[in-house]
């Protein structure tokens, strides 16, 4: 395919997305934002698979993306349920409040 995006560019975008998600996960205290950051990181991984698949012309990467997508969907379902429980228990969405397991 002519004019295709070079793989390095695609991987750089995926890396940037991943780091963005990671930084978001580390700096945000709101648990909803943390979930969103995780989604971004998952999508970064998915993008890396797509880029690699298009570079080698293999369908495996797309299959992996679909797997990631469905995993993310399941994760969000469970995650949001946990968020609801979290909120009803702590009356807040601040993840740092839940530190009962402090050693």
């Amino acid at each position: 395919m002519i004019g295709a995006v070079p793989m390095t560019h695609g991987l750089m975008v995926a890396g940037m997305l991943f780091v963005l998600g990671l930084v978001g996960l580390l700096v945000r205290r709101n648990i909803i934002y943390m979930l969103m950051s995780i989604e971004i990181m998952l999508n970064a991984a998915g993008l890396a698979f797509i880029v690699a698949a298009s570079r080698w012309g293999q369908p495996d990467g797309q299959i992996m993306f679909i797997v990631i997508l469905s995993t993310a969907a399941a994760e969000v379902a469970v995650g949001l349920a946990l968020v609801l429980r979290f909120y009803s228990r702590f009356k807040t969405l601040d993840a740092d409040v839940a530190n009962d397991m402090r050693g």
Binding site: L25, R29, D96, N99, D100, G103
Partner: protein, 630 residues
């Protein structure tokens, strides 16, 4: 008749078992009946055996009964066997008869004690163990009895256990005698490995065949046995436990620490005399130990305030006499003195106990006085016992036995005038402290009012023993006074005669007169110093050197302080150092390191999700870096 021999030790053991198992459910009368009755049966049987032994002695003048085989391992087969010869017959009679009288006395003496059945159980166990000791056919069984009496001594010294001082005295007695017992156990090991048997008669025979006189092995074996004897009999240097042993009830002091157990060392040496004869230096050491102890304890007795401690030092001193006699080869004289001493010393202790009981457990002689009128029976019996102890001439048992020892010490081939002089000098001191005790206790003005006087259970044994303390001496009349050596004649089948130089009767008479002048001098000096002219004593005590000497003797020549500094304190120090077990330090250190590490790690467990995320991220970066750059 001789087949009843096993009953003699078995009866007190049966009494012990009954009292130990059912003592708490029996009435006081039943306890007294079991406790004194079993020993009484033993006494009757042994009196019967004694009659039979005199009239119709068993073949070879010894009767052995093999009850059962104790152990049978690789040629080591000690039997539980009893051996009755003239020597063990005398000891059995002393133990059962004196033991029975003391049990009868205890019925009244201990009447108000809450531990009545416990007391009689221990006393019965003691009598049984002592009989095993004296009747044992082999040294292992003898050692069993030896340890049994040591255990009972410990239990009875600490009988009133609620006072920690009594417990300490008991532990002291046990530990100090243990030093001697360890030596004795080593002696038994040596004898068994070298001679291949522990049977006493066999062993003596093999020893005299295999060992030359003065050979190293014989000397070592005899010295180790002597160690055991010295510990049990309260001789130098292990005498420190006996004065403290007076913490026990008075019947215990009379039975164990005067009449029977403390003389076990004398019995042991007489029993194994063949080995001692093969080791002349050790035999000499026995005499020297005896001589040194009798002087040392005599001076200590002179200064004591507690009536029982006077008697305790006097016992140490009298056993010193017996050791002196053993050391010069006068075994019969030693056993004869053991025999008479058992009567008069038990009598003295029991009479002192009656005084102590009447004065509500007051033992300080300086708080007694003037009891002669209130307690005539106790006074007269005490006086008879004291005269016997001081060996006043002709009418007392102590005179004949002491005289026999002194004469044989003078004329023995291994003795000599030195030992005679020590014994003679000792006789002066004995007269002095004995009559000091009598004057302080029974004469002068009354300082403490006595409670009710002693009842029949106390008076009858006192009178019986007073009788024995007088007539027992007539069993052995010296050449100057009738020449009737019945006692040593009886013992001749078991013990050899002392190796005496030929001496004329005149020399013997002269020696007796010198010794008796010494005794009477001591008695008269006591009467003058303590009754008539007290100011001489007070003047003397005002001088600093005399006061220092008094304190020195009062503390028993400061042996306690010496041993405390030499053994006890270093041991306690060592224990303190090692209290937090040195080896444990390594493992405790490991545990502490693990705990510190754990605390450091648990700080990282903040419970915050983002902190963990950070950990994962940093970890991942590090892992990636490693993968990429390495």
């Amino acid at each position: 008749m001789f087949s009843l021999l096993w009953l003699v030790p078995a009866m007190p053991f049966a009494g012990f078992v009954i009292l130990a198992l059912m003592g708490s459910r029996l009435s006081r009368n039943a306890i007294a009946a079991v406790g004194a009755g079993t020993v009484g049966i033993s006494a009757v049987i042994s009196l019967g055996l004694g009659m039979r032994f005199l009239l119709l002695p068993p073949p070879g003048h010894a009767y052995t009964v093999n009850l059962w085989t104790w152990i049978d391992v690789a040629g080591f087969t000690p039997h539980v066997a009893l051996y009755l010869d003239a020597l063990s017959m005398v000891m059995t009679l002393v133990v059962t008869v004196v033991g029975f009288l003391i049990h009868v006395y205890s019925i009244e003496y201990m009447r108000d004690d809450p531990g009545y059945s416990r007391f009689f159980a221990y006393m019965n166990l003691f009598v049984g163990s002592m009989l095993v000791l004296v009747l044992a056919d082999n040294l292992l069984l003898l050692y069993l009895g030896w340890e049994g009496v040591g255990l009972c001594s410990y239990l009875l010294i600490g009988f009133w256990y609620s006072d920690p001082a009594n417990g300490r005295a008991a532990v002291k007695a046990f530990v100090v005698t243990r030093v001697g017992d360890t030596a004795m156990a080593l002696g038994l090991f040596l004898l068994f490995t070298k001679l291949g048997t522990l049977d006493i008669q066999d062993m003596m025979e093999r020893a005299s065949q295999q060992w030359a006189v003065g050979s190293g092995l014989a000397i070592l074996a005899a010295a180790l046995l002597l160690g055991g004897a010295v510990g049990k009999s309260g001789q130098l240097p292990l005498q420190v436990w006996l004065p403290d042993a007076m913490a026990g009830p008075t019947p215990v002091s009379a039975l164990i620490h005067a009449a029977t157990m403390v003389t076990a060392g004398v019995y042991l040496i007489a029993r194994t005399h063949t080995i001692f004869e093969l080791a002349p230096p050790v035999l000499m050491l026995v005499a020297v130990v005896g001589g040194a102890t009798l002087l040392l304890a005599g001076f200590a007795a002179l200064t004591q305030r507690d009536i029982k401690r006077v008697l305790a030092y006097s016992t140490i001193s009298q056993i010193g006499y017996m050791f002196l006699a053993l050391g010069v080869g006068a075994y019969s004289a030693a056993i004869f003195h053991l025999f008479t001493h058992a009567f008069f010393k038990a009598l003295l202790f029991m009479a002192a106990g009656a005084v102590i009981l009447a004065l509500h457990h007051e033992q300080d002689m300086f708080k007694m006085g003037g009891l002669r009128k209130q307690m005539p029976v106790v006074f007269w019996t005490f006086l008879i016992g004291a005269m016997s102890l001081a060996a006043l001439p002709l009418v007392t048992a102590g005179f004949y036995s002491k005289d026999m020892i002194l004469y044989e010490a003078w004329s023995s081939k291994i003795g000599g005038p030195v030992f005679w002089a020590a014994g003679c000098f000792r006789a002066v001191i004995t007269g002095l402290y004995t009559f000091r005790m009598i004057i302080l206790t029974f004469f002068g003005e009354q300082k403490t009012a006595p409670g009710h006087g002693p009842g029949p259970f106390i008076q009858v044994p006192l009178i019986v023993l007073a009788l024995f303390s007088t007539i027992a001496g007539f069993l052995e009349l010296p050449r100057t006074l009738g020449d009737m050596p019945l006692f040593s004649h009886f013992l001749r089948t078991a013990l050899p005669h002392a190796p005496l130089h030929e001496g004329s009767v005149n020399v013997e008479a002269l020696l007796q007169i010198i010794a008796e002048v010494g005794v009477l001098g001591g008695v008269i000096a006591a009467i003058i110093l303590f009754a008539r002219k007290r100011r001489h004593i007070l003047n003397l005590m005002a001088k600093p050197w005399a006061a220092a000497l008094h304190d020195f003797w009062f503390a028993g020549w400061r042996f306690d302080a010496l041993y405390n500094a030499l053994f006890v304190q270093p041991y306690i120090h060592l224990a303190q150092v090692n209290k937090d077990d040195f080896i444990d330090g390594i493992y405790n250190g490991l545990a502490r390191a693990a705990a510190a590490f754990n605390r450091a790690l648990s700080v990282t467990q903040t419970g915050r999700l983002r902190w963990y995320m950070m950990g994962i991220a940093v970890g991942a970066v590090i892992a990636l870096t490693l993968v990429v750059f390495l």
